[in-house]
């Protein structure tokens, strides 16, 4: 049923690798975005710091998961990295070359290297286009003749498990959620990107359909050598698909480590609370009290110092004054495990932090 996409005759050329396997595919540094509230002539000076100093690298063939509560800036981060929403500050380097800076424009040819897959919704596909038209649009925009773009579209449909004879001329309204999501993925893959940003790609689907779509994503990753940024609030899904996980809180990354490490030994109190709130199938491990009380603070006016301190069980006076840096805390030789918490910084002055003097002795 599903054809191998790598062997599919694609009208768009494969983007060649430049920096070699050790060069990160994507290195975003210090991305920030502020949304001004209530426009108008004399609109207030209120602003939401949606993303604040976000840095993220994605290796070749790697999948990086981003988790966090809703409203933590995950989706904004996705749009900044894709370049579709320009950040206020920061830089994006793609395979060793500058992809985006606040003063640059991304050319059409380079743009196709990073594509996005959105959460399934009524507005994820153009209701006035047939599936073939939707899939042919991107290639046509790159100068592929309509006839071959449509032939390619049919091949793509087949590759994501939708027989073109039955599906090519359908409209989105005639699809189920899972089918729509396959088309969403096909549309992104049609551009022959190297990085796919998946923003809650399976969150709106039934569990059984979710598994099929996840399998499709895993298959495509292998066949096409893709890298993924996988955004979700579902920790089990992230754990399943990701090599590395970044935890976001209020527009900032608070912890980042390999999937294995972070689920085995979460170090940031927010990560621990987030993981604890996961419903367990084992009745002996049922959560009794909500580990995270209340709503996150107002992003218009974030707390001073560490942003998590207002809900943190181990917050101390130090946390209110200085924001902790996102630093590597791994022991020598172990994989990088970055945490932004004073309790994890030896000698920081936090009562739970290791005392550097003791180490010396």
């Amino acid at each position: 049923m599903s054809a191998n996409l790598a062997r599919l005759e694609a009208p768009l050329p494969v983007i060649p690798d430049r920096g070699g396997p050790l060069q990160p595919l994507l290195a975003a540094s210090d991305l920030s975005k502020t949304f001004r509230l209530s426009g108008g002539f004399f609109g207030g000076r209120k602003a939401v710091h949606a993303v604040d100093g976000l840095s993220l690298t994605v290796g070749k063939g790697e999948t990086v998961g981003i988790v966090g509560e809703s409203g933590c800036g995950k989706s904004t981060a996705a749009r900044l990295i894709s370049g579709i929403t320009p950040a206020d500050a920061g830089e994006i380097v793609f395979d060793g070359e500058t992809y985006w800076t606040p003063r640059s424009r991304i050319t059409a040819e380079r743009r196709r290297a990073i594509q996005m897959v959105f959460q399934d919704s009524a507005s994820s596909l153009n209701p006035r286009m047939t599936l073939a038209e939707t899939l042919a649009f991107g290639p046509r925009a790159h100068g592929i003749p309509t006839a071959s773009a449509h032939a390619y579209a049919r091949d793509l449909l087949a590759a994501v498990g939708l027989p073109p004879a039955r599906f090519a001329e359908r409209y989105p309204i005639q699809l189920s959620g899972g089918q729509r999501q396959r088309v969403n993925i096909a549309r992104a893959v049609a551009m022959r990107p190297r990085l796919l940003i998946l923003d809650e790609p399976v969150s709106a689907l039934d569990k059984s359909v979710e598994a099929q779509v996840l399998n499709l994503l895993v298959q495509l990753r292998e066949e096409l050598g893709l890298s993924y940024i996988f955004i979700s609030h579902d920790l089990n899904v992230v754990r399943y698909i990701s090599d590395r996980v970044a935890v976001m809180y209020l527009g900032q990354v608070v912890e980042e480590a390999t999937s294995e490490d972070i689920f085995a030994t979460p170090k940031h109190p927010y990560t621990r609370a987030l993981f604890a709130s996961r419903p367990s199938l084992d009745p002996r491990h049922r959560v009794k009290a909500a580990p995270l009380a209340g709503d996150p603070p107002d992003p218009i006016d974030p707390p001073s110092g560490c942003r998590f301190r207002t809900r943190c069980p181990i917050a101390e006076s130090l946390c209110a004054t200085v924001a902790p840096p996102l630093d590597d805390t791994a022991k020598d030789g172990a994989a990088v495990h970055k945490v932004a918490c004073w309790a994890a910084v030896p000698g920081s002055g936090h009562s739970l932090a290791a005392k550097p003097l003791e180490r010396v002795q």
Binding site: S38, G40, F41, F42, G44
Partner: protein, 317 residues
């Protein structure tokens, strides 16, 4: 609340500037030299020179605008070509009559529109709803000047019950709420009220239906609250929308008054405007427009403020 009010007030300033600029431009979009548009045909060379200096017509357009606005702010709207009297006093004499008609038609439109809308909304899809919808769709589609003529044909020509023209006897003595004056007011009121009544009824029906569909009304009913109490909740929730529509319709009545006042020879601002057009009296046209449009801007401002006061959701927007 105060913050919203100040912001809304400040927003009215650029709008006011834009509106006055358009009114100012009216003389300049008229074919020919603006000076010939501003002065009577038999004007002497000295008058031309004086006007040229006074309005700074040899200056750049923006300077002319500022000069004109300065004059207008001091109550000097120029001289009417037709009557030779100051435009300001012509307009002042007419404003009162328009206000009388607007208030009377506004009251009728609000009361009838409110009743029809609520009745139609409460008895949705019943015969009474269909009758109201027939009335409202006719109301918004009827040329009000034709309605005015029909009213005259029926009530003045055929039945001879009501007077067809004018404001009443003894125009110099001022308007009084006695029968001779009121009888003159009835037909213009109906003609002016038709469109706003239909729009208000339509909007109110929609918001009543909206409110009735909301969960809290179902809850109120389930709690066994009397229909009368439910009705009160419905009205309170539909009120902000109704207010906004009424305010806007009041403004549109000012616009519609041009035609209705012409049909009934009602000596208001609309009639003044029509005669200014008929006589190509541009200073009078400009002055009347300035007063009417500033009134409309002010009305919009008041409606917004009142609405924000009755509906707290708007303040935060």
């Amino acid at each position: 609340m105060l913050f919203y009010a100040v912001r809304r007030l400040l927003y009215a300033i650029p709008i006011g500037i834009g509106v006055t600029f358009i009114v100012f431009s009216l003389v300049h979009i008229a074919p020919g030299d603006p000076i010939s548009a501003l002065l009577p045909n038999e004007a002497t060379q000295e008058m031309v020179e004086q006007a040229r200096r006074e309005y700074g017509l040899d200056q750049p357009l923006l300077v002319q605008y500022a000069t004109w606005l300065g004059h207008a702010a001091r109550g000097d709207l120029g001289t009417s070509i037709g009557s030779g009297r100051p435009v300001a006093s012509e307009v002042a004499g007419a404003v009162g009559n328009t206000v009388i008609l607007a208030i009377s038609a506004g009251l009728v439109a609000c009361i009838l529109g409110f009743l029809l809308g609520i009745v139609a909304g409460l008895w949705r899809d019943r015969p009474v709803d269909h009758i109201v919808s027939l009335i409202t769709i006719s109301g918004v589609s009827i040329p009000h000047y034709w309605l005015a003529i029909l009213l005259v044909i029926v009530f003045s020509v055929d039945l001879n019950w009501l007077p067809p023209l004018g404001i009443g006897p003894d125009s110099s003595g001022g308007w009084r709420p006695d029968w001779p004056h009121l009888s003159h007011l009835i037909l213009p009121t109906i003609a002016t009220a038709a469109i706003p009544m239909a729009v208000i009824a339509r909007t109110l029906r929609a918001s009543v239906v909206d409110v009735l569909d909301q969960d809290f009304v179902t809850t109120l009913r389930a709690k066994g609250l009397l229909p009368r109490r439910v009705l009160w909740h419905v009205i309170r929730n539909a009120l902000p929308t109704a207010l906004a529509v009424m305010g806007l319709q009041l403004g549109n009545m000012l616009g519609g008054s041009v035609l209705v006042e012409t049909v009934f020879a009602w000596p208001g601002t609309g009639f003044l405007l029509a005669s200014a057009i008929f006589q190509r009296d541009l200073p009078l046209l400009q002055g009347t427009m300035l007063v009417l449009s500033m009134f409309f801007v002010l009305l919009n401002l008041i409606v917004d403020l009142v609405q924000s006061w009755t509906d707290p959701r708007i303040r935060r927007a």
